[in-house]
């Protein structure tokens, strides 16, 4: 098989870090080489998924205040904050040169990231379907799309990640929810800096990644240059992908909640009990209620309520009988005064918060 073309473009403008892989994808012709594109943005920005509605997903006012551009991509998934601390690893391949199913494609793609991290001394593992984990923490994200004749798989190698700004750029139902997202990103994401103390030099990371790609794909990789038609299309897409029309295209896809990684998600829900509205923010980890917080207009005594109930619920299996047993146990031992709110009402609020769909 022909060699894979490597386009290592270093550091480029935020929009070019998006437009270039879209351009190579859409310009892909019958004779185009499979291409691995390595690029980082030289300034931060926010990227939203193919069908997300920007107004519902991103705090645009905050982004404007920071001068952060927001771009829609042709790859699916959720909104993400990106900056120069990530090395994007973008594959633009002929469909027949990658495994037929999306899931099988990720097995190959993620394996190259895993091996690169391991060469750098990080105990990375493949977490199906498309995550890389280090001791239960996610490092980077991946996605896939079809562009013209090309199948595209994208992801990143994470030197560092600004969890604070990531939590801030999302449009969320409450500040309590945002706190939970921020805390969860810190608890369940990691980076090369976090694992190694300091991130390795870019050249070392690139060398490890390319060696992994050559090994996993069993193909030769040769440095190359973008073709003039690809660059011309990238210039067009610099404008189109940054246009307001494209950003505000109503995709219609909205899912409450934030997925931190394959096993961890944060959701919010409310339940109207006779004694008042109970709002619940919950974090679920592998079907366990990992963390939970209540607020609302119910009145409760003692003053340790609802915090004490929240503590008791942590670690309980996310199933109605187990949750109800834990709340009843609290009622039986503490005898709280919460007029019009029964144990079943707390459980209903938890289930509302934890059954909301979250983006892939």
């Amino acid at each position: 098989m022909e060699p894979i073309r490597l386009l290592d473009l270093g550091s480029v403008s935020p929009i070019r870090s998006q437009s270039i892989f879209h351009a190579v994808g859409h310009a892909f012709g019958p004779d185009s080489p499979d291409t691995i594109l390595l690029v980082s943005p030289n300034a931060p920005y926010v990227s939203i998924g193919r069908h997300q509605d920007v107004d519902r997903e991103v705090d645009l006012e905050y982004c404007r205040s920071l001068g952060l551009p927001v771009f829609r991509r042709e790859v699916g998934g959720g909104a993400v904050y990106l900056d120069g601390n990530q090395l994007f690893t973008q594959w633009i391949f002929r469909a027949e040169h990658l495994p037929a199913t999306v899931e099988a494609r990720f097995v190959v793609y993620v394996e190259t990231l895993v091996r690169a991290y391991r060469q750098l001394g990080i105990a990375a593992e493949y977490r199906p379907i498309n995550d890389v984990h280090v001791a239960g923490r996610k490092i980077g994200g991946t996605g896939a799309a079809r562009m013209g004749r090309a199948e595209v798989v994208v992801g990143s190698l994470m030197f560092d990640f600004d969890t604070e700004t990531m939590a801030r750029v999302l449009k969320v139902p409450s500040e309590k929810f945002r706190d939970k997202v921020r805390q969860s990103l810190n608890d369940y994401m990691t980076t090369m800096r976090r694992e190694l103390g300091q991130p390795p030099p870019r050249a070392d990371v690139v060398a490890a990644y390319l060696a992994s790609c050559a090994e996993v794909l069993d193909r030769t990789i040769e440095p190359g240059l973008p073709r003039p038609d690809e660059l011309a299309l990238a210039e067009q897409l610099d404008v189109q992908l940054a246009s307001q029309e494209w950003l505000y295209e109503a995709g219609g896809m909205h899912r409450a909640g934030v997925k931190i990684h394959e096993d961890v998600r944060v959701g919010e829900g409310a339940h109207k009990a006779p004694g008042g509205l109970i709002r619940c923010v919950a974090r679920v980890r592998s079907d366990i209620l990992d963390d939970v917080g209540f607020s609302g207009d119910f009145s409760a005594r003692p003053a340790t309520m609802p915090e004490e109930l929240e503590v008791r619920l942590r670690g309980v299996a996310l199933a109605e009988p187990a949750l109800l047993a834990a709340v009843k146990d609290y009622y039986d031992t503490v005898h709280p005064e919460i007029p019009g709110v029964t144990p079943a009402d707390w459980v209903a609020a938890i289930l509302r918060a934890t059954t909301t769909d979250v983006p892939a």
Partner: protein, 158 residues
């Protein structure tokens, strides 16, 4: 990952290719010419198997004219996004938006029936520019493609 998925009887590697339909094999699109002159089209069984369970579809508006190869809808599955290209130039006259609003997995359950995506009024029919095949030739070309890609088809059963 195979929960809720079933193989498709004795089809080729689980993939059903109906010889009575027309196919653009490279684009993985099937077409059924209707008696009223419209073309109903959708994703093939191998295509729905490759992309996975549908999560969201954004249809082009009714009345929109499309060139051959242009996207009549964009599809997002759990881990992939891509276009649904029309092999034939024409005007969108109907979409299956209501069907998918009721059941997003229509194409994953029944790609050639309830899982149709759009109806098009073709600019010209038959379209001599489109690379469409049917009958035994379609089945033979698809079997070769299924072998090339190494794909096995699965349908959602639940």
């Amino acid at each position: 990952m195979l929960e809720g998925l079933v193989g498709n009887g004795d089809a080729y590697r689980g993939c059903e290719i109906r010889p009575d339909l027309l196919y653009d094999v490279e684009r993985d699109v099937w077409i059924r010419p209707d008696e009223n002159g419209l073309l109903t089209m959708g994703m093939t069984d191998p295509a729905q198997s490759r992309s996975g369970k549908f999560l969201h579809i954004l249809f082009k508006r009714v009345g929109r004219r499309l060139e051959a190869g242009q996207s009549a809808a964009t599809i997002e599955t759990a881990k992939w996004a891509g276009p649904f290209p029309t092999p034939v130039a024409g005007t969108v006259v109907e979409t299956n938006e209501a069907g998918y609003a009721a059941d997003m997995l229509l194409a994953n359950r029944d790609p050639y029936g309830a899982g149709w995506l759009v109806r098009l009024q073709p600019d010209a029919w038959p379209d001599t520019d489109a690379d469409l095949v049917t009958g035994p030739e379609a089945v033979a070309r698809y079997e070769a493609r299924i072998d090339l890609l190494g794909v096995t088809c699965l349908r959602c059963a639940d």
